[in-house]
Symmetry: C2
Amino acid sequence: MKKLLRDPRTLVRDGLDGLAATHPGLLRVEAGPELVVRADAPVRGKVGLVSGGGSGHEPLHTGFVGFGMLDAAVPGPVFTSPTPDPILEATRSVSGGAGVLHIVKNYTGDVLNFEVAADLARAEGIDVETVLVDDDVAVQDSTHTAGRRGVAGTVLVEKIAGAAAERGDDLETVAAIARGIVADVRSMGVALAAPVVPHSGLPSFDLADDEIEIGIGIHGEPGRERIPWEPVDGIVARLLQPIVDDLPFTSLDDVLLLVNGMGGTPLLELSVVLDAANQWLSDRSIHVARTLVGSYATSLDMQGCSITLLRLTDERKALWDAPVETAALRWGR
Amino acid sequence: MKKLLRDPRTLVRDGLDGLAATHPGLLRVEAGPELVVRADAPVRGKVGLVSGGGSGHEPLHTGFVGFGMLDAAVPGPVFTSPTPDPILEATRSVSGGAGVLHIVKNYTGDVLNFEVAADLARAEGIDVETVLVDDDVAVQDSTHTAGRRGVAGTVLVEKIAGAAAERGDDLETVAAIARGIVADVRSMGVALAAPVVPHSGLPSFDLADDEIEIGIGIHGEPGRERIPWEPVDGIVARLLQPIVDDLPFTSLDDVLLLVNGMGGTPLLELSVVLDAANQWLSDRSIHVARTLVGSYATSLDMQGCSITLLRLTDERKALWDAPVETAALRWGR
């Protein structure tokens, strides 16, 4: 295995130290348990947003802590859910009296551990709501999931709910906005090469030299089908058709289009995916009103991408456009 | 070859179309010749900044067009210098009456073609200054270069000179600031795996499964040495020692530290590199006053990173902190 790391056992901690050194004014990294918390948390009177999950998906979630997005992120070990303790500690750290929203990707371990932490926090008098994100249309049930997996759509839930909390919406409203996003967001991904898992030094699955996997998860979970490589327009159609069919998105919709890199794919290729997605959607009169391109919900060094569509409303556009200042996403402040 | 592309022959154009669709308010992409130009160019009375070079290094340079950085970028074919024509056209497009600065990475083709374009622009009455960036300490002379190569330090030249131009400095001053950065910036890189060149479908060099190459260029040019993989602290020391020795940087210096991904390396690993670099510099009492981490000057999908140090002054800190709004770098506006 060739990776830029010190030791697989300290990988998460070492990466958090790097993050903390880069953004001292924005966030702090707490030890024992390890948490990334907004520098000015708890913000009095503001709903606190907490997300988390296994590491290896950076910048998700630690890179989204800051003004207008998350108040805390709970990074578990690589591809492994954090335990209830750090989730509870994060919940306490960001509780400013207006309640706390847990944003949880739908994996069995995450769901269970966030649920336990929410119960414990409630027992301490903190009002907690939970929203489960399950945007991946590829498969029903999977290696670590009952129901659909939560993937890159989580970034959009965190941004838009974060903006609602920042403008002063109450817990019930922020939770309703987040659940509205979950109802209207769909994703699907493709892998060109598997990620290499640090602890084993091995690829998490095998793909032949000319093969790609459509519908892959972000932990190497199986997708829908393996096919020979084809030019990007074919790949993009295989991702967008199931996404559009599922909601369904129609020619009346304004959408946000997220082209997300899986960690090992450069920006140039993502820009080409975006161009192909724009053409496919334009041919169906689905109007792309907002765009985000980059590696935001990754799977270690996996090569590939995912595409996410969110149905937009005027309110969602305003919340999307609202200022955000985090390590990974920042504009307009 | 497995890449997310339509056709190697249209790769650059397709990527530019994606970029244009993502940032319509920020920049425009012109056809025939292909250029990326700031949306409001030419800005009257402001020095125009033009950079460019072969494609495959995105977001360099196209992702740095916008407020507070470049006025235009000239993307050549992959790893191939643009010809004088588009450079001349870019120079005209951003000429607002205060002259134009060409920021050129030190590769023989780039140097020659920017020189021809500058002469032609001067013949049309446009005042042009040129700054050559040659920050790579790894080797003297190389595959495409006489003297040292220009690499990720170029990002810092573009940001800081861009801020000087934005605040209204004249051409002579902006050029002097840019040359001052070049004098005080040093870089070196490492490859864990070679990039795959789209036109050939082949890796640009071969590395064994346990081998890394120290001092690699951004076009697959040879480095200083091939060694067996080692943990990140050893790799970081092999990059930082020659950088620090070369200027030299001393314990009296405030520095900007850039940890730059080569395209195929995820943020988690870059954060670990940053942590190791911070420790190494701290042990030598070199003070990291500013930090940037991410994939900014890439080499297609090459796995690896580079480290760049810039000696900071109060003026450089202020120019670095000044607002910037581009596709790839944005803060504070």
